[in-house]
């Protein structure tokens, strides 16, 4: 059970343009309030950019630079170094991007920044597709999920960004979920205190993109965690693994909670279950040989 308590300091404002019930806005609320006022943000084109923007207004109390989709990590690098040159090295620099701007289009800039161990907090709002442009697949779209460009279900598996980032040996990688807000806040707090590159991947069940009811995105995210589809985990320095969530239920309820899986046959569902089980077992094995 997650105790959802965190403190709200008004760092994220009402009146933003997110769909009603969007948990991307909810997680932005928690992250921005946890980061506080001494921060500068950069954002790649994404739902996040839409929720933040609408020139000349902003829903964030900290300044955000809106850049090109492949540049989130590069912008963050420049802003951080510029601030450091002005003697403001304690100011947090946070990069917001979607999975398109992270797994696909922005991965070169992300990999470079990670390799240089830039002192930025990179947050990927992972809704597993290009949901802002009408719901096309990205390399984060999971196996079997239907999107506008994979109407019969994606034939390949979701790209494993966690292990890609682990391979860079950066100080901190974590996953988080809008169903576990206190956990999300704690991870942001921890990341802020770490010097160097931090990557946080947050699962965002997309209401129109996944086919989820307006009031259900938190429930779907909780099912993703509990079924082991999206485990809550942390990896420090590429060598210390911690898998905090347990696999406590089969994936049936998770699959049934969204329209993007409803075309699956029984056999395909069983195959997905086997994939999830194997993935979770692999994580536990990695944790066992890389204990905290």
């Amino acid at each position: 059970m997650d105790i959802s308590r965190y403190e709200d300091h008004g760092q994220f404002c009402s009146g933003h343009a997110a769909c009603g019930g969007c948990v991307e806005a909810l997680t932005m609320r928690v992250i921005l309030n946890e980061i506080g006022p001494d921060a500068v943000g950069v954002v790649a084109p994404s739902c996040t950019a839409v929720i933040l923007g609408g020139y000349p207004t902003s829903s964030a109390r900290i300044p955000f630079i809106h850049g090109l989709i492949e540049t989130a990590a590069a912008m963050g690098t420049g802003v951080k170094r510029g601030l450091a040159a002005q003697g403001k090295g304690d100011t947090t620099v946070v990069c917001f991007a979607g999975d398109g701007g992270t797994y696909d289009i922005g991965i070169q800039a992300l990999s470079s920044a990670a390799e240089r161990n830039e002192d930025i907090l990179y947050v990927c709002f992972d809704n597993e597709g290009y949901m802002n442009t009408g719901g096309q697949k990205s390399s984060s779209t999971p196996h079997g999920a239907a999107t506008g460009s994979t109407p019969l279900g994606k034939a390949t598996v979701k790209k494993n960004l966690i292990e890609i980032m682990v391979a860079h040996r950066i100080p901190y990688i974590a996953t988080a979920s809008p169903s576990h807000l206190a956990d999300l806040a704690a991870k942001v707090r921890k990341a802020r205190a770490i010097r160097g590159m931090k990557v946080l991947i947050v699962v965002i069940p997309c209401l129109p993109g996944w086919g989820v009811a307006d009031d259900s995105a938190v429930r779907v995210a909780r099912l993703a965690v509990e079924s082991g589809v999206f485990p809550l985990m942390e990896v420090e320095n590429g060598t210390t693994w911690r898998i905090a969530s347990e696999q406590t239920r089969p994936i049936d309820a998770y699959l049934a909670s969204q329209k993007r899986y409803r075309h699956l046959s029984d056999g395909e569902r069983e195959a997905l279950q086997a994939e999830v089980d194997a993935g979770f077992a692999r994580l536990k094995a990695l944790e066992a040989i890389n204990p905290g």
């Binding site: 019930g21 806005a25 909810l26 429930r219």
Partner: protein
């Protein structure tokens, strides 16, 4: 900062100027709604509310909420048939909450602390209550709280009715009974003990002397069993047996007692006889599993060595050195309403057995003929009345439950209060449908098994009339209270506030308010409410 100095590329307004509330079709509404336990409760108790106070460790507040509807929590916490637990939503997750044991926990704490009731400011009107059992005492208590003078007529020498004269002390300790009754009489009641009301004419006279009358004389005429000679020396009346002192009970019974009936009274007779050292057999028309007594009573009777012959009907009893009875196996068909049934004999199933004493305990009827001229042939019911006279409890209902009588006494009193003292405060009933399991977000209620109520060791039980059911230890009670879903009751957990993606919930102290300028009507707050205390309502401008 000077806005003029900013580059025109900088944003200088927040999004708060956008009234996203205009997107909305429905608005969350905070409204406590009745829990299923409340719906099943014979006194309509605010169970989720008082258990919330137990969780918070405030037993005084819990007791006050309990006593809005029932002045006998320590008694009800021992003997109520607790339909609340059958209705409890938690059964669909793991096991029902031990509501009855928690009620006893609160009731016992109140007795130990000596908390008392206060009468309301006197209103210059008076009501005669006839019968000092659970219904009459419940009505008298509610009337006194509203400041209405009460004259209470009780035919016997002590108050309590069935609670005193029908329920043995191993189920309801006498100091508990005395304590909860004394608290009511301390509110200032004109007590007329040993003063029965003889007939319809006397009732009419009382109606003339008071502003209203509440009739709660119970049901005291034993039902008769065909095939049994009630004049025979080996037949003992169950009510007379239960009310007799221990020495007399011993004199009334032989070595092997046959109790006929499957209700609470039959169990009370059987278990009392076991405590006298008698061998006891209970014979019931109902098959196993359909006995009207509470399951726990049947289980405890069996533990104490009571033998059961279920699905059988007495045909004949013949006295002699010992008593020989003949009986036959029957098929039992329950009827539409409680107490109604039909039986058919199974051919060739006759059998006989011997015993020394037969105690039929098959229920009692109300003496309606006595009031017939006033109340009409088909009997009085709450809400139906003859002039200033209302009736409640067993005289007006076939539900033979103490708490049902307490509830009827309360309802009748509230009707009288509404009429005679319309400005006296009365608690408003919770609106809306019962909160079903689907409205509980079980992610916030981790599985946890029900706390077992301890009972006295079997070896000690048959040695005395001391209470069998033991109190919950304080820590166990608090843990059990934590298991309550608080269905339909806001627990101020802040989930609605924290889960709102639009910051559209304001925390008040206490409670919450929706900012209609920004609420997009998504319903996340409702979905993430652990207790079902919020619901969406269509928002028509």
């Amino acid at each position: 900062m000077n806005k003029q100095a900013l580059s025109p590329l900088w944003t200088h307004l927040t999004s708060e100027g956008n009234r996203t509330g205009t997107w909305r079709a429905a608005l969350p509404r905070y409204q406590d709604q009745p829990s299923p336990c409340l719906g099943a409760c014979p006194v309509s108790g605010r169970i989720a509310t008082w258990i919330g106070h137990v969780k918070a460790g405030d037993l005084r507040a819990a007791w006050e909420v309990l006593c809005d509807n029932n002045p006998f929590p320590a008694i009800a916490g021992r003997i109520c048939h607790h339909p609340c637990e059958t209705a409890c939503n938690r059964a669909k997750l793991d096991e029902t909450v031990s509501i009855c044991a928690l009620e006893r926990h609160v009731g016992d704490a109140a007795l130990a602390a000596g908390w008392g009731f206060e009468a309301g400011p006197e209103r210059g009107v008076s009501v005669a209550v006839i019968g000092g059992g659970p219904a009459g005492l419940s009505a008298a208590y509610q009337l006194r709280r509203a400041g209405i003078a009460v004259t209470l007529y009780e035919a016997r020498e002590a108050l309590g009715g069935l609670m005193r004269y029908g329920i043995p002390s191993y189920r309801l300790a006498r100091e508990v009974l005395e304590g909860e009754i004394a608290r009511i009489t301390a509110m200032g009641i004109d007590l007329r003990l040993g003063t029965g009301v003889a007939d319809a004419a006397a009732l009419e006279a009382l109606a003339g002397a008071h502003d209203a009358v509440f009739l709660a004389t119970g049901a005291s005429l034993p039902k008769r069993l065909p095939g049994l000679d009630y004049g025979a020396g080996f037949v003992v009346d169950s009510a007379a047996f239960l009310v007799a002192p221990e020495e007399e009970q011993k004199a009334m019974t032989g070595a092997h007692v046959l109790v006929i009936g499957g209700g609470s009274a039959a169990m009370d007779v059987a278990r009392t006889a076991r405590r006298l050292g008698r061998r006891v057999t209970v014979m019931t028309l109902e098959p196993e599993g359909q006995l009207p007594a509470q399951q726990v009573e049947i289980e405890e009777a069996a533990e104490e060595g009571v033998a059961f012959i279920t699905g059988a009907m007495l045909k004949h009893a013949e006295g002699g050195e010992t008593v020989t009875i003949t009986a036959v196996r029957v098929r039992f068909e329950p009827g539409e309403t409680r107490g109604q049934f039909s039986v058919s004999e199974i051919g060739g199933s006759a059998f006989s057995l011997t015993c020394d004493t037969i105690i039929p305990a098959i229920g009692q009827d109300a003496d309606l003929a006595r009031w017939g001229a006033v109340l009409g042939a088909d009997g009085p019911v709450v809400g139906r009345r003859a002039g200033r006279i209302r009736a409640g409890g067993d005289v007006a209902s076939m539900e033979r439950f103490v708490t049902h009588a307490i509830g009827m006494g309360k309802e009748a009193a509230r009707e009288i209060i509404a009429e005679l003292a319309p400005d006296a405060p009365l608690p408003a009933p919770l609106p809306g449908p019962l909160v079903g399991y689907a409205r509980i977000n079980t992610a916030y209620h981790p599985g946890h098994p029900r706390v077992r109520q301890p009972s006295a060791p079997l070896s000690a039980r048959l040695q005395s009339f001391a209470e069998v059911q033991q109190p919950l230890p304080a820590e166990a009670a608090r843990r059990e209270a934590e298991r309550c879903f608080s269905c339909g009751t806001c627990i101020h957990c802040d989930n609605c506030y924290l889960y709102c993606p639009d910051m559209a919930i304001t925390r008040l102290l206490p409670g919450y308010e929706v900012k209609t300028d920004y609420c997009k009507g998504c319903g996340l707050c409702v979905a993430e409410c652990p207790t079902g205390a919020i619901h969406m309502q269509e928002d028509v401008p």
